[in-house]
């Protein structure tokens, strides 16, 4: 073991690993977002190209695992954060984010289009979706028509759900059941429990089990079938439409206190609800656009479940009750 060789290798390795930021001659906008947004197949590359073309600036994305990690990171960095814009929180997190005092009100934005309207002065939505039970048509001929049917149905037909303590859709289902059953939510969970094959820490694990054929149903989004129809050309996986309505998830972006000093931040927020951004959303982020598109939605999106009703709690309600509701879930499910 030659010591000098090892040291040299270490130095080389660390040098290759160190994030190399090119010297910025142009104005720069730093956007913190989640991993799948900036992935090659995500909306990130297109959004970056379009915005840079319109602003003669440079967009730099910094990505973390998901929305929760995003909020944690910004909270940790506090006022010294490099982020001008934080993109990818959902409405269950915005109350927390606001309370941290790290975001400033946004300027005028147009064309915001989400179910139930939008009136938040700090965060602007960029896409939305509905939680849904996605099922395998080859395994399940008669999917549940309502949350009630799901809860009371054949316990032999299993569903994989996510843990609300560690995952966004998991929390979504808790809120959904709460919105439908109210005070009777605990009883509903007690019945549903028999149909739950397992509770995974995140969406990926649950969906993985589902596509492996372990269970005929999984908690996911109404938009999930669009991916399978457009990218995989298969109709096999479909979302079940529930008569009580579906719980809404809105993804938003906001300007940080750092970004308040960067004129590009306002520009980006205005750009975000326009076609340069929104055109990329449906078929890269697999969510519904929350603004104006230039090109039409792929017809597959028209065939997705259209919820009879959007169920949603306000961010403040969620912030206030999340712990109690999750504990209620936990108490029933771990019996």
């Amino acid at each position: 073991m030659r010591i000098s060789g090892f040291v040299g290798f270490t130095a080389f390795a660390l040098a290759t690993l160190a994030a190399t930021a090119p010297a910025a001659a142009k104005d720069k906008l730093t956007v913190y977002t989640y991993e799948s947004f900036t992935a090659e197949w995500g909306p990130g590359p297109l959004v970056k190209k379009n915005f840079e073309a319109s602003c003669d600036c440079e967009v730099s994305f910094v990505s973390v695992a998901d929305g929760v990690a995003l909020l944690n990171r910004v909270k940790l960095e506090g006022a010294s954060t490099k982020a001008d814009i934080v993109l990818g929180l959902d409405t269950n997190l915005t109350a927390d984010a606001k309370a941290a005092g790290l975001f400033v009100p946004h300027g005028p934005v147009s064309d915001v289009d989400v179910p139930g309207g939008w009136s938040d002065d700090t965060f602007v939505p960029f896409d939305y979706g509905y939680f849904a039970v996605v099922y395998d048509t080859e395994k399940l001929k008669t999917p549940p028509q309502s949350l009630k049917e799901l809860v009371e149905g054949d316990p032999g037909q299993k569903i994989v759900i996510q843990d609300p303590r560690t995952s966004t859709p998991g929390l979504g289902l808790v809120l959904w059941v709460k919105a439908v059953y109210g005070d009777k939510a605990a009883d509903a969970w007690a019945k549903l429990k028999g149909r739950v094959l397992t509770v995974t820490p995140g969406w990926s694990e649950a969906y993985g089990l589902f596509t492996k054929g372990e269970a005929p149903m999984v908690l996911s989004y109404t938009t999930s079938p669009a991916y399978h129809m457009i990218s995989e050309k298969t109709e096999r996986y479909q979302a079940a439409s529930f008569s009580e309505g579906h719980y809404l998830q809105v993804e938003v972006a906001g300007i940080t206190t750092t970004g308040a000093k960067n004129p590009l931040a306002e520009k980006f927020m205005a750009f975000m609800t326009g076609p340069g951004f929104q055109d990329a959303i449906p078929e890269t982020n697999w969510m519904f656009p929350a603004g104006k598109m230039d090109k039409p939605l792929d017809p597959a999106f028209d065939r997705l479940v259209k919820p009879a009703k959007s169920l949603v709690f306000s961010p403040d309600e969620v912030a206030k009750n999340r712990k109690d509701w999750v504990d209620e879930w936990l108490a029933v499910m771990s019996r």
Partner: protein, 543 residues
């Protein structure tokens, strides 16, 4: 009158100095993280107190229960598989089996879970076989699933470690046993079992610690939050609630429980004073009878099938992916490079620290004259292993909190990954190195003291040759572990550390399950390549 290059003054044993430095590094890494979290959580001590409730008691009980069962089911069979392998030092495929046994640890937990389910799940290969009387096979969800997955991870590990212990038995003992015409049971009782028993507390402790901190496996296969571990609660406390005080108190509970169990395990073992004669001949004096050979073959095949099954399923799934395209992607190549470099660095650091500790422990053990061990010796012995039960997410979060005002902490993420992975791999490296070093020291200690061979000279000239093979084993273990890990960065993520497992989960998280399966295959192959290389390196010139 002293030799030319001998020091004028008695220098303290450099091995102990090295051990103290290694312990210092560990203490700084763990202490720093705790300091960061405690400072952050000081404002909210209610969180720490609120951690103690009935729910905590329930999950603590389940955590211990599943970990104890998993340990028993992994370690007990491993004793016999290791023994079978040691009875047949040469047969076709033996090396390959051992190399395969290093792989499960490198697989991210979800990949392993899917691999296990591919066989034993509701839609698994065996589901039809297992469905009786029109009843559909319910899958292995619940405790059984957790146990199967844990045994898949830990049986191979325990087997390899036990085998190391058996190989450290002096060849004279084997010759003696065959000369005395000892049959298998007698050989086991008189030679193998004492060696295995000496290794047992360490190996069982290690497996226990791995199981007690299990997270993805427990949640995914556990069937519901009734199967929940402390690790899940810690994760939740940091990730969703960002409640550092609660995370710290939960971590302390986890460490406390582990201390209790590992302390109890230590009583199972017996210290073995090795007979340290010069190994005059390579051991080829083993003679297993026909019946025993058949039994051993069955045992090895069963273990192999159990371990290779889920891996084969992973390979099959991976072959379904568009591997050519994947291998061509810049992101994949970049991630592969990053993973390899990080794993190499972690493994090197891990082995260096472990060797320092092993040397210090031995040096301290030689110095003492009574049964009572000094605190320093205890620390350099079992102390560092407890790093395993400090969740990486706690280490990561603590340091990020601590350093955020001082430096751009996200730029130093790679350093954190290397340091934390090195620590997490250290207990494995320790297990692999210690028996060999102690045996070598037993032979050489007085001679080295007499001749004044110490420090680097001793390391390179005297200790290196007999340690070469165990060092390679330790290195490949450490590397495999680091390859599959992404715990440290899970909380905050970092653009500068896009490793293969990270990429794999990202693909899984955006419907690209086929890509993810392909990446799992690539990850396994990368790991296999590393293990092969390390084995080759370790063989070298047999001294």
């Amino acid at each position: 009158m002293a030799g030319r290059d001998e020091p004028v003054k008695a220098a303290p044993d450099t091995r102990i100095t090295a051990g103290v430095i290694a312990l210092g590094l560990i203490a700084i890494l763990v202490g720093g993280a705790f300091a960061g979290l405690i400072a952050e959580g000081a404002g909210n001590l209610a969180g720490a107190a609120a951690a103690f409730d009935g729910y905590l008691f329930r999950i603590a009980r389940f955590t211990l229960w599943q970990a104890a069962l998993s340990t028993l089911l992994s370690v007990a069979p491993a004793l016999f598989v290791a023994r079978a392998l040691s009875r047949h030092p040469v047969f076709f495929g033996r090396t390959l089996i051992l190399q395969l046994f290093a792989l499960p640890l490198a697989l991210p937990a979800i990949v392993a879970a899917l691999g296990v389910l591919a066989l034993y799940g509701r839609a698994g290969y065996f589901a039809d076989l297992l469905s009786v009387g029109g009843q559909n096979w319910p899958g292995i969800y619940g405790l059984s699933g957790i146990l199967v997955a844990h045994v898949f991870f830990n049986l191979p590990l325990a087997t390899r470690l036990f085998l190391e212990a058996l190989q450290a038995v002096p060849s004279d003992q084997w010759r003696l046993s065959s000369q005395l015409g000892m049959r298998a049971p007698a050989t086991f009782r008189l030679i193998e079992w004492p060696a295995l028993r000496a290794a047992l507390p360490g190996v069982a402790g290690l497996v226990f610690m791995l199981c007690i901190t299990s997270f993805t496996i427990v949640l995914t296969l556990g069937g519901g939050p009734a199967a929940s571990t402390l690790e899940v609660a810690i994760y939740q406390a940091l990730r969703f609630d960002f409640d550092p005080a609660r995370a710290v108190s939960l971590t302390l509970i986890q460490i406390g429980l582990t201390l209790l169990v590992v302390g109890a395990l230590a009583r199972l073992g017996a210290s073995m004073t090795g007979d340290a004669n010069l190994p005059v001949a390579p051991r080829r004096y083993l003679s297993a009878g026909n019946l025993e050979t058949v039994l051993n073959a069955v045992l090895i095949l069963l273990a192999l099938a159990f371990v290779a099954g889920p891996m084969a399923a992973t390979v099959m799934a991976g072959l379904g992916a568009d591997l050519g395209r994947l291998a061509g992607e810049a992101a994949v190549r970049q991630a592969t490079m990053t993973s390899l470099v990080l794993a190499c660095l972690s493994a090197a650091l891990s082995v260096a620290i472990s060797l320092s500790l092993v040397m210090a422990r031995r040096a301290l053990a030689i110095r003492r004259r009574s049964e009572r061990r000094s605190l320093l010796e205890l620390l350099s012995d079992t102390g560092p292993a407890f790093v395993l039960v400090v969740p990486p997410i706690v280490l990561g979060a603590g340091w990020f909190v601590l350093l955020r005002h001082v430096a751009d902490v996200f730029a130093i993420a790679p350093v954190m990954v290397v340091a934390v992975n090195a620590m997490m791999a250290m207990p494995f490296a320790l297990r692999a190195l210690r028996p060999a070093y102690d045996a070598a020291s037993e032979r050489h200690e007085r001679l080295c003291a007499q001749l004044g061979v110490a420090g680097w000279t001793r390391l390179l000239l005297i200790d290196w040759p007999p340690l070469r093979r165990p060092l390679a084993t330790a290195f490949s273990f450490a590397m495999a572990l680091s390859l599959g890990d992404l715990g440290v960065i899970a909380l905050f993520g970092s653009d500068s550390v896009q490793t293969l497992p990270y990429l794999l989960l990202a693909r899984m998280g955006s419907y690209r399950t086929a890509d993810a399966a392909g990446l799992a295959l690539l990850l396994g192959l990368a790991c296999l390549a590393l293990v092969l290389a390390a084995d080759r390196l370790g063989k070298g010139r047999e001294a």
